[in-house]
């Protein structure tokens, strides 16, 4: 009896192709994606960050500093006068500004407490990377100062004919360049706390989950003949599609309000950081949310029109969502991914949504700053709507 029932179970499993795909393919794909995405997680990703250098110093030491920095961070992007806009938008992760007088100051016996090396970063730059870059800058500058002072003392020794020259430490000279190094986030809308980073990521992820709900209901309507009945009553396909899309637009709106409210009010009560909406551009936030919602609903309609069985509806939507999240920087922040994965991430609609949300919540972007991700999302929504419309009529009948 047991064997017969086990055989039944196995046959049912084997004949559920999509269920099997979810069981075997999804973990395999996940392993590949997550391993690639996390490949560099223990190797600080500072090398891959786009940056520029604004060298205002004419001395030789500033050129040495630039060379040292390039060794660890690769070649800088070309500097232009609009670099602050590029940093603000996240196109550059940071700009290293070497102020005039840096070379002279580095060799002076007394260090002035004046910022001569400024690290100006993207408002959304991850905290660890921000601190690591600043510490590295202090270290390089300190080493250069120590070497410069040592060279000066050796020269003094030679000039005093073999008498041992006092090292900088011996004479109590300050070798640390900490006082001349500063780091700042460029006009940050908010401090990039975990909440400030996580709420946008999981909000975008959650909004895309309407795929599962919409597909299930659509399939139910199709299988019971209710959609065919609506069609026989003369209801146009466009009306059926809009009737599905608009309620989910409201659902997405409520999701967004709930998630933001959790970040703003619940997180501090639970002892976490609060999500700050102070100073954000509300128009830009609404535009990004609308675009994310349109993309999510478009994808949901296309997938709902594509699936034929409950098993497909139950697996396809969540699998697509999770893969998009894994690729798109929701599960693994994009900045820790290797170059190739970062480029792939740029094809994930979830990444466009996430970039838009981060631009609003971390960089204080206005509508102009989120136009590109919003346009990409809306374009994706339009494409999916066309696919849905083409498949919808066939499925209804």
């Amino acid at each position: 009896m047991l064997l017969a029932l086990i055989k039944k179970e196995l046959l049912a499993l084997i004949r559920d192709v999509h269920g099997l795909a979810a069981l075997f393919l999804m973990p395999a794909v996940f392993i590949v994606i997550m391993s690639l995405a996390l490949k560099d997680v223990y190797d600080p990703p500072v090398k891959t960050l786009p940056y520029a250098i604004d060298n205002r110093d004419n001395g030789t030491l500033s050129a040495t500093l630039v060379d040292e920095w390039k060794k660890n961070h690769g070649d800088p992007h070309s500097r232009d006068d609009a670099w602050s806009d590029r940093v603000q938008s996240g196109a550059l992760s940071y700009v290293l500004v070497i102020e005039q007088g840096f070379s002279d100051a580095l060799t002076a016996s007394e260090l002035e407490d004046k910022p001569l090396l400024r690290l100006i970063t993207d408002p959304g730059l991850e905290g660890g990377v921000y601190s690591a870059n600043k510490a590295e800058l202090v270290m390089i500058a300190s080493e250069m100062r120590a070497q410069a002072l040592l060279s000066a003392s050796k020269m003094a020794m030679q000039m005093s004919r073999g008498k041992r020259a006092a090292s900088p430490a011996d004479v109590g000279v300050q070798t640390s360049a900490q006082d001349i190094v500063t780091a700042e986030r460029l006009a940050a809308g908010s401090r990039p706390t975990a909440v400030q980073q996580n709420v946008p990521a999981w909000l975008v992820f959650g909004m895309f989950f309407v795929v599962a709900s919409l597909s299930n209901l659509f399939l139910q309507e199709r299988q019971c003949g209710a959609l065919a009945r609506l069609a026989s009553l003369g209801v146009p396909v466009s009306v059926m599609i809009w009737a599905k899309a608009l309620p989910y637009l409201v659902i997405n709106g409520l999701q967004a309000a709930l998630m933001l409210a959790v970040g703003v009010w619940l997180m501090p009560v639970l002892g976490g950081d609060a999500l700050s909406l102070a100073g954000i551009h509300w128009g830009a936030l609404l535009l990004v949310l609308l675009a994310v919602s349109m993309a999510a609903i478009g994808l949901a309609l296309a997938l709902a029109s594509l699936v034929r069985t409950q098993a497909q509806a139950a697996t396809l939507g969540p699998v697509v969502n999770i893969l998009m999240a894994a690729i798109g920087g929701v599960m693994v922040p994009k900045f820790v991914m290797p170059d190739v994965m970062q480029r792939i991430a740029e094809f994930s609609p979830m990444n466009w949504g996430l970039e838009g949300m981060l631009a609003v919540l971390l960089r204080g972007s206005d509508i102009g700053g989120v136009l590109l991700p919003s346009a990409k999302l809306m374009g994706f929504a339009a494409l999916m709507a066309v696919v849905a419309a083409l498949l919808f009529r066939r499925r209804v009948n």
């Binding site: 069609a231 026989s232 009553l233 209801v235």
Partner: protein, 306 residues
């Protein structure tokens, strides 16, 4: 008058036509019984009438206008009550009626009036606030019918509307269908229950393999059947019985007796008298003509279908 002329349809990739030159008429005030084994083409025919399938060959017209024109201008003139429970299980009876009434273009007071009328017609008033998923099979069938009637259609297609219901609900539904025809609607009624078709259909169409095998009134269909006597007899068996029966027509052994198709000029009384004279004791005897099921089985053969 709904007229189908020489309708043919071929599904892409299928080996044969699903419909092959089907012609029939559905007149106002009449019930047209549509009979056919599984895979005969009934659903394809209904799908054409509901607008789900385009006409490939032949034509369908209503009072001289093509079906496509009618569906574009007034799609609600034709209503379909599909075999499935084509409504939303998570909505109440009234919510379903409101949804489909609005989808059919009804609004305002007229919509409310039609909902009330359809609730009353299907005797669903008590269940107006009950979720459809909690209704019994019979009530679901009644809701399915009520939804179809909302826009007051002139042509109503009922696809096996009594599947899975108890005898009381079946009797109620059949009477409801008769009422629809009495009120002037043209009803096309498909069923596998022959006695239902015999009970309510004014005309019957039997189709198989996409073709119309027989079409006519019930009398016309059954008129061709020979008079037959079904009986059981004790006290006479074997060769004497066979020899006796051979003189009255062709005989067939049934489970509990014999079925004799009486030959020309032979009467049942004469056969029964002959059996008694030969020493037989009649246990039971039934006399009549072929019923619809026998005609149907004879026309569509007895082989199992898909």
């Amino acid at each position: 008058m709904l007229e189908i002329r020489n309708l043919s349809f071929h599904y892409p990739g299928a080996g044969r036509r699903a419909l092959d030159g089907v012609s029939l008429l559905a007149a106002p005030g009449q019930i047209l019984g549509l009979l056919g084994p599984n895979g005969a083409g009934k659903t394809t025919l209904i799908s054409h009438l509901s607008g789900a399938l385009p006409v490939q060959h032949g034509d369908i017209s209503i009072n001289g206008k093509t079906l496509a024109e009618i569906r574009r201008a007034t799609p609600t003139r034709i209503a379909v009550a599909p075999q499935e429970y084509a409504f939303y299980p998570m909505l109440t009876v009234r919510e379903n009626l409101e949804c489909f009434a609005s989808a059919g273009g009804l609004a305002g007071a007229h919509k409310q009036q039609r909902i009330a009328e359809c609730l009353a017609f299907a005797q669903l008033e008590r269940y107006a606030k009950t979720r459809a998923e909690r209704l019994s099979g019979g009530l679901k069938r009644r809701l399915n019918l009520a939804i179809a009637l909302l826009p007051e259609p002139e042509f109503i297609l009922l696809d096996e509307p009594t599947v899975g219901v108890d005898p009381q609900s079946r009797a109620f539904l059949l009477e409801a269908v008769r009422t629809l025809a009495r009120n002037g609607a043209a009803v096309i009624y498909t069923s596998h229950y022959m006695e239902e078709i015999e009970a309510i259909a004014d005309r019957v169409v039997i189709i198989d393999d996409g073709r119309v095998l027989r079409e006519g009134t019930l009398d016309e269909l059954l008129g061709g059947g020979k008079a037959q006597l079904h009986f059981a007899v004790d006290g006479i068996t074997g060769a004497p019985l066979n020899a006796l029966l051979a003189g009255y027509g062709s005989s067939t052994k049934t489970g509990d007796g014999w079925l004799v198709a009486l030959g020309a000029g032979k009467t049942p009384l004469a056969l029964l008298a002959a059996l008694e004279q030969a020493g037989g004791v009649i246990r039971f005897a039934e006399f009549g003509r072929s019923n619809l099921e026998q005609v149907f089985m004879a026309l569509t053969k007895h082989s199992l279908r898909d």
